[in-house]
């Protein structure tokens, strides 16, 4: 369990995160969404201890991530957006580095690499950006970590690899793990992320499960315009509209539309979900 309390961080005099309070539960795949520059990557790097909070606290299983203790490091893995091309064969890199994570399974690494159609005997500095990303994703999933933080993992992946990535995340992560995926490519991950966290400069605008979202918001894929629509988008042959779910109807949550709705009605949505 990760508890974030009154977290603040700034780059020099430029505040990025102000008073963030939320908690991340086990057994969930969180989708971390937000506009450019709101601090998604900063939050991820704070969560994994790469940065020190200016004020407030992060508590992961009772520890501060910035202490960088081996006991916490071996329970977490952070996949940055930009990964390092090491002058080693992928399989050698994974085997040697994996020895530091007690639950690392080299067979799983090789299996995921095979599913990604990625050659583990290839040197990492000779790989394309997508192949390199897939190598690090395979390694991250093979570590068996309880806490997995991924920054834009589908960036640079080809179309089949995106589906393979979703399948691998569902198949190879422990049931009690907490996964936080920061992304702009919401359609790539729509089917696996639950709950959704929408970050704003000042605050967490939304931290709610898909079930909770569909209880409170209705996603109408009809052909008539609704007066109570908070957000409307024209689709071929109709509209996608997001409205308050006053009738308790079930609908399929569209995360992109949700994101736009939240940004158009920040206070209303916050009030709706904080009740």
């Amino acid at each position: 369990m990760i508890e974030i309390k009154d977290l603040a961080f700034s780059y020099g005099n430029v505040p990025v995160l102000k008073s963030i309070t939320t908690s991340l539960e086990e057994g969930r795949i969180y989708g971390l969404l937000g506009e450019n520059g709101v601090g998604k990557t900063t939050l991820l790097t704070l969560l994994c201890g790469l940065k020190k909070a200016d004020s407030g606290s992060i508590c992961t299983d009772g520890e501060n991530p910035f202490d960088r203790t081996p006991s916490l490091l071996e329970k977490q893995y952070y996949l940055p957006d930009e990964v390092a091309p090491v002058a080693m064969k992928a399989e050698v890199f994974a085997k040697e580095r994996g020895a530091f994570w007690p639950l690392y399974d080299h067979e799983i690494f090789l299996t995921i690499m095979k599913e990604f159609e990625n050659d583990p005997s290839k040197k990492m500095n000779q790989m394309s950006a997508g192949q390199l990303k897939k190598t690090y994703i395979s390694f991250g999933l093979a570590t068996g970590c309880r806490y997995l933080f991924m920054d834009e993992p589908t960036n640079g992946l080809d179309i089949p690899s995106k589906a393979q990535f979703r399948a691998a995340v569902m198949k190879y992560t422990p049931e009690d793990s907490t996964i936080v995926i920061s992304t702009h490519q919401v359609r790539d991950l729509e089917n696996i992320i639950d709950p959704v966290i929408i970050l704003d400069k000042q605050d967490v605008l939304l931290n709610a499960s898909i079930e909770e979202i569909s209880e409170k918001l209705y996603f109408d894929y009809g052909t008539t315009q609704r007066e109570d629509a908070l957000y409307r988008e024209a689709l071929p042959g109709g509209f996608l509209q997001v409205c308050p779910n006053t009738g308790g109807e079930e609908s399929k949550v569209n995360i992109e539309a949700l994101f736009n709705t939240v940004h158009a009605h920040k206070e209303l949505i916050k009030g709706m979900f904080n009740k």
Binding site: T45, C48, G49, L50, K51, K52, D67, R68, T69, P70, S71, L73, E74, Q76, Y77, Y78, P80, E82, V83, A84, A87, M88, E96, R97, A99, F100, W101
Partner: protein, 279 residues
């Protein structure tokens, strides 16, 4: 779990670190270590091209690198190697992608720091000097007229000597101690530079040293201008005469203190840099 230092985990990390350093730096290290062979080949080649097996410079004949040339090349190459290898080996820590991966590796900060210091201050310099001396020995094996070994020539050098009123003394330390002293100081300085600066690490470190020496010179100059230099030098002379019997002990003592202060001070700074680095 011991989160500060665990010998088993440290051993595992040190082996991993050494292997990574070897994978990344072996070409760099071996290139520098093979300089005696390269120098020998170059000189013999020009000697062959010139006048048979010798090069004539009016009254000077050069057929092979003399011991003076070999010791000079050794000193120069060693200094260049010691300046550049810390940033090549651990400069990646300031890089966002590589540095993040390094921080995330499950070993304690103290284990990572100890491994880095051991590799930089002991293992790589020893490996380099051994490889260099072996390479030099190979040259001497081929050419029996190469003269004495670099090691013995270096070790026979006295660190310093002093003559005062017919009394003379020598600091007990030999060239090998001087070499170790130099290695520790140079590597400590340039390792810290590699950990502080993100780009142009060596150039910025040299520039910083230059600025520091200018500032220190100005401060010392100011201090000297405010004191009575004659009575100060009289006091120093009186102290030297009083302790003339064990002056070598005191000279050694103070140079060791200086070395310890520099290495420990820079080591502490490096530790805090590694401990608190953020990406």
């Amino acid at each position: 779990m011991n989160n500060t230092f665990n010998f088993k985990r440290f051993g595992k990390y040190l082996a991993y670190d050494l292997k990574s350093v070897w994978e990344e730096q072996r070409v760099f290290l071996l290139t520098y270590a093979l300089i005696p062979v390269i120098t020998y080949i170059v000189i013999v080649f020009f000697a062959l091209v010139g006048h048979g097996f010798s090069m004539d410079f009016s009254d000077y004949t050069l057929a092979r690198p003399s011991i003076a040339v070999r010791v000079s090349v050794f000193s120069l190459v060693s200094v260049i190697f010691l300046i550049f290898f810390p940033s090549r080996t651990y400069g990646f820590i300031t890089d966002k992608a590589k540095g993040s991966a390094w921080i995330q590796l499950p070993a304690s900060r103290l284990e990572k720091f100890s491994s880095m210091m051991l590799i930089c201050l002991v293992i790589i310099p020893v490996a380099f000097f051994c490889a260099y001396l072996i390479s030099d020995a190979l040259v001497c094996l081929v050419d029996k007229n190469c003269g004495s070994s670099i090691f013995s020539s270096w070790n026979s050098l006295d660190m310093t000597s002093y003559d005062e009123d017919g009394k003379s003394f020598k600091i007990a330390g030999k060239g090998i101690w001087f070499l170790a002293n130099g290695v520790l100081q140079i590597v400590s300085v340039f390792l810290l530079g590699a950990l502080i600066f993100k780009k142009n690490k060596v150039a910025k470190t040299i520039l910083t040293l230059f600025v520091i020496s200018l500032v220190l010179s100005a401060i010392i100059g100011l201090a000297v201008s405010t004191i009575d230099i004659e009575s100060f030098s009289d006091k120093i002379q009186a102290w030297a005469l009083n302790y003339a019997d064990n002056i070598d002990f005191w000279a050694n003592f103070w140079s060791n203190v200086e070395l310890a202060v520099i290495v420990v001070g820079l080591g502490i700074w490096s530790w805090f840099r590694v401990k608190n680095i953020q990406h």
